[in-house]
Symmetry: C2
Subunit: 426 residues, 2 copies
């Protein structure tokens, strides 16, 4: 996806007039020195930075994979002051242009920049944590956060998601699978991990557009209560349940996971934990505990990270307010106080990268229609979010953990995992 | 395994003259009241407790699965003061006798007793933690702790371990497998999880009698450096390397894991982490970090628990001084500061229970020879340890986590786990 063709790539990534990052400071303008500091804060990534007047800085160690062009001095100062937030903001309002491939650009920054010494306020100090603190997800704040992202219109999501509108990591037993098939394979894989049996009851926390709940009812004969606080998603899911004739077996409830009541055979949550927030992990643990009896089991599927740092502030502002991808130790700590034993953890990071490749390609194919529905700013926000997420999963900046658990006393657990890989699926 | 046949089971677990645990205190002797308090501290487990004078207490809710007979008042007082330690001590010196099946007795106590409110000093308060604190495993203390358990004579272990002397959880793809085959299957499974290739280098922390290191060299063409501080185990392992003609590819080093130097393709540690102790987890993380390059990967296999409580004090005193079985969140936290991503976690708890069934059966078959080598006290210590461990894995008091990891940036990771379950093993 080449966003701007300025002859950058054709010239081998080294346009005439560019200044090596190692050029003595005396030979650089004040702005050039800011650029160099900025590049250094990005781990001296092989990225060429160019000013409005053509002055340019790049690292000397390797060919540049992409470039960033600043429209004016105000943009440079804004980005310099807080690159984690304002590189994204400047891209959205068009005051920087990307030369080359946006995904590769973000990947190279992730790979160059050490997580340990993230620039400015991205560090691990108490001040950094305070500045980047995740917003508290009270029930009303959660409703607002979820509304902001998931209620922007089913028509928009339909343009680039699969037919069943699954907005979480797919599972590709074979990388050549279509996105549609990989989402079905994921739902089936989750049901098999849970050893879901006909007539069993399931509670789902955060059900998106309802695809998994419907899959469980239609293909596994389960009775499902599915919770979600997104109004548009719940309305859509109810419509599909009626179409599929499983309205008696699947109940879609527009409510917060904290209000789940009753006992179930299985608990499942796919891609909601990221929205729960670290401050509310214990609450979620208590909800799971009261949902499940002595042979209850569950599956938590969540974006994760290593180590636990605040989410990028631009993503928090524009995409996922209140979100926090947990570490695996934090996921395990949700379950441990309640005598749940983890049976199986699988890291599906590269499957999420492939899922995002599909989404990004479909999104770009539909970008004119998206622009028509919204505007160019919206297109750029979503392009940056999808590209940045793809880069993050490709480079190990983000992970995807599927955690299967049961009561620690229960011996109703599979003997090995071979049944997950038998050709004759059940 | 019936340790004492006193007609207990034949009478349906309710001998005449026994007093119901709910009998009013006024009708009980002082000793009877102590017995009742003791039974209550064991979660009112269905166990009949009998004094030297025949006075007996049991819980009324269900038939007793086993009984404990106290030889004298001193024993009762000792056990009452600290049952976690002194039930074991009294069993070893013969001042209590078990009526019925020892494994079932311990299982029923585990199942009756809530982990959260363990009696006396088994709780989670700061005082409880201090009283039950794990001894610090300095290098010299570790050497002493390991010597105490592993250097009591290879001839003894040969009586009841498999031919290759593997003293960790086996893997039974089919529960009907022999112990010998299941230990080979475990070693092969570990090599497959690590995707070990011919010519690759491996470092093993805590190698026991060397079986895995030798397996890796003989069957996978790996070059292995294997560390252990048990003198007898290292001597035995070196002898086997010579016999197998792989002395050039496997080096057995009598040294502490903290002294591992050099870089390797893979790190593996099977059943050593339990001996590292919580205070030294960070040190182990730093060792793994400096061992592995950017495509390095590793596997930690350890007994674990949920939640993290101090090890039973009798086991600490008689079997594993300094040991602490970690929680999964603690295992993940060893890896997270060093940019390792967990790829796969498998809980093999029931495989350890089955392994222990084999060991206990073989041990009992060889008990006369063991008594001849040592004495009756030794037989009772080992019977209680093996029985208690079997009960602990059977009831979910203990778990077994295999944690596979790689550098979080590395994309040299398997696409799915299907390759682990293909019939044509590699």
């Amino acid at each position: 996806m080449k966003l701007s063709e300025t002859g950058f790539l054709e010239s081998g990534g080294r346009p005439a007039g560019a200044v090596h990052a190692g050029t003595p400071a005396a030979q650089l303008s004040l702005e050039g020195r800011l650029l160099r500091r900025l590049l250094s804060s990005l781990g001296d990534a092989p990225v060429q930075m160019t000013l409005w007047n053509g002055e340019s800085v790049f690292t000397g160690s390797t060919d540049c994979v992409a470039g960033i062009r600043f429209a004016d001095r105000a943009t440079l100062l804004k980005v310099f002051a807080n690159p984690d937030l304002n590189l994204g903001e400047a891209y959205v309002d068009g005051s920087i242009e990307i030369e080359g491939d946006l995904v590769k650009l973000i990947e190279t920054v992730y790979l160059s920049r050490s997580k340990a010494r993230a620039p400015w306020f991205g560090g691990r100090s108490r001040i950094a944590r305070w500045l980047n603190r995740t917003r508290r997800n009270t029930p009303s704040a959660s409703r607002q956060h979820i509304h902001q992202h998931y209620d922007i219109g089913n028509d928009f999501y339909r343009l680039w998601l699969d037919r069943q509108m699954v907005y979480t990591c797919a599972y590709f037993p074979d990388p050549a699978l279509t996105l549609e098939d990989a989402q079905v394979a994921k739902m089936d894989y989750v049901c098999r991990k849970l050893r879901l049996k006909r007539g069993e009851s399931v509670v789902e926390a955060g059900c998106g557009w309802g695809s998994l709940a419907l899959h469980m009812a239609v293909h596994h004969g389960a009775r499902v209560k599915a919770f979600n606080i997104s109004r548009e998603q719940i309305a859509y899911a109810r419509g599909r349940a009626r179409e599929l004739g499983v309205g008696d077996r699947v109940e879609f409830i527009e409510d917060d996971y904290r209000n789940i009541r009753g006992q179930f055979d299985a608990f499942v949550s796919i891609g909601m934990l990221e929205h729960v927030g670290r401050d509310h992990h214990r609450e979620l643990g208590r909800v799971i505990d009261r949902c499940l009896g002595r042979d209850g089991r569950g599956l938590l599927h969540s974006i994760g990270q290593i180590p636990g740092l605040p989410l990028n502030p631009w993503i928090q502002k524009r995409i996922f307010p209140g979100a926090y991808p947990p570490t695996l130790s934090e996921m395990a700590a949700i379950l441990e106080p309640h005598a749940f034993s983890v049976l199986d953890v699988e890291n599906l990071r590269l499957h999420y990268a492939l899922t995002l490749e599909h989404w990004l390609r479909r999104f770009e194919d539909a970008r004119e229609r998206v622009r028509g529905m919204f505007d160019e700013r919206f297109v750029r926000i979503w392009r940056l979010y999808l590209s940045g997420s793809l880069a993050a999963f490709n480079t190990g900046e983000l992970h995807l953990f599927q955690v299967l658990f049961a009561r620690d006393r229960s011996n109703e657990v599979p003997w090995t995992r071979a049944y997950l890989y038998e050709k004759t699926a059940g």
